[in-house]
Amino acid sequence: MAKNTIIPFGPQHPVLPEPIQLRLVLDEERVVSAIPVVGYVHRGLEKLAEQKDFLQDTFLIERICGICSFIHSLTYSMGIESMMGLTPPPRAQYLRVIWSELHRMHSHLLAVGLLADAFGFENLFMQLWRTREHIMDAMEATTGARVMLGTCCPGGVRKDIDPELLKFILTTLVTVEKEMDEQMPVLLNDYSVKQRLCGVGILDKQTAYERGAVGPTARASGIAMDLRTHGYAAYGELGVEPMVETDGDCYARTKVRVRELYQSMNIVRKAIGQIPAGPINVPFKTKPDGEVVMRAEQPRGEVLYYLKGNGTDMLERLRVRTPTFANIPPVLAMLAGCELADVGVIVISIDPCISCTER
């Protein structure tokens, strides 16, 4: 038998926007197993968070990941609120939902676009990212920043969206939907795209359970798991259904993202339709004390925060379990037995976010 070869994939690789290394053990062109090598983006943020006070941390936490920054700060703020026994006013809850869903949309368009780039359809990548710019515009118009919104804080949100801007978001969504209606059939029905995605990187339901997949990766394998159904922020009043596919291949994961894009649009519309008037944050004087575990649904899956306070400004411990961390064992299962040429597509299909994972 021929000896196995080991090929390093990364840390600098055309399909990877971020550095992670996968050592691929190959038998001819077939991957036998993959060994992840991490640490290229490790910064030590959890330790730094213990040295800053809990309000400064809100902005530090956003820099865990630039793609889902708002949802990171949202989860953190919810954790602090539950330690201090605060309930943000209803308007703040709705604003949080609106920004979360805008973030989810831009993240999913980004992920699907990068996937298109990974299988060599550069035109589609460009088109999807052009559509994404409309959402970035909406975020910039409402907060003043494109990526790091910095609007969520313990007790509520820091900025209100006035009615005109709410209308602007709605008109943006009309444009986005129109463009997506043109692009998505290409992504989902094109013959060559299907050749690259269908039946590639299959993760069955049992393995997904055993390896602890989260988010679209789990939902594409038939696990109906979406934390938004638990109704944090204002999701309880908006009615969210998990989008489930059963095939578990790259195509199913893409389809889950596309369906969630449309779902997010509907959630934003519904939230704008029934947003109540009122204050946007509650004042507080207490300091966080006690322990709390807080979870929320990010574009990539479930994020878990463990916070421990001791009644002072500084937190005693902050721990984050991010979705990509949970999705690395499933992706190793997908890679075993695949072709070398499919590795890029499979890795991108879980929408990896390495800087989240390593912090």
Binding site: P14, H42, G44, G66, I67
Partner: protein, 172 residues
Amino acid sequence: MFNAVSKSPWVVHFNCNSCNGCDIEFLACLTPHYDVERFGILHIGNPKHADVLVVTGSVNNRNARVLQNVYNQIPDPKVVVAMGVCTSSGGVFAGCYNILGGVDIVIPVDVFVPGCPPRPEAMIDGIVKAVGILERKRKGEVFPTAPKPTHTFKPSEEQSAEKTVIKEEKTV
């Protein structure tokens, strides 16, 4: 043939230790809304084909060697554009135990683009400036590396934050 270098510079992007914010903004520059391709700038994956290295994020113990390797693989003349405050000082992560500092401790930087993250317009500005430097380097001019954006922030001064003056300046 050499004219092609500054008329159509190829860019390789390396994410050093960044939070993705700068990376997605840089990728957004490549796409139709901002479109750096109108300056002939093309994004490629192989450092051996590149003229411009765009680097985001700061340096840690593990990726310093990788960054050095990527830089060494780019053929001369080459320019380095550093995106975001992380590349100059560690930015918001300054003081983390695993941050060695800005990328300029490993490789010479030609243009710093400040911001967290910089706006795509600023990034395009930075790349276009770098292309000008590339053209002059090609003619044999020796170019000093960009002065580091000045800042007086030191992790030990953290408690007296009101005294901290952060002054970033765009450099040519």
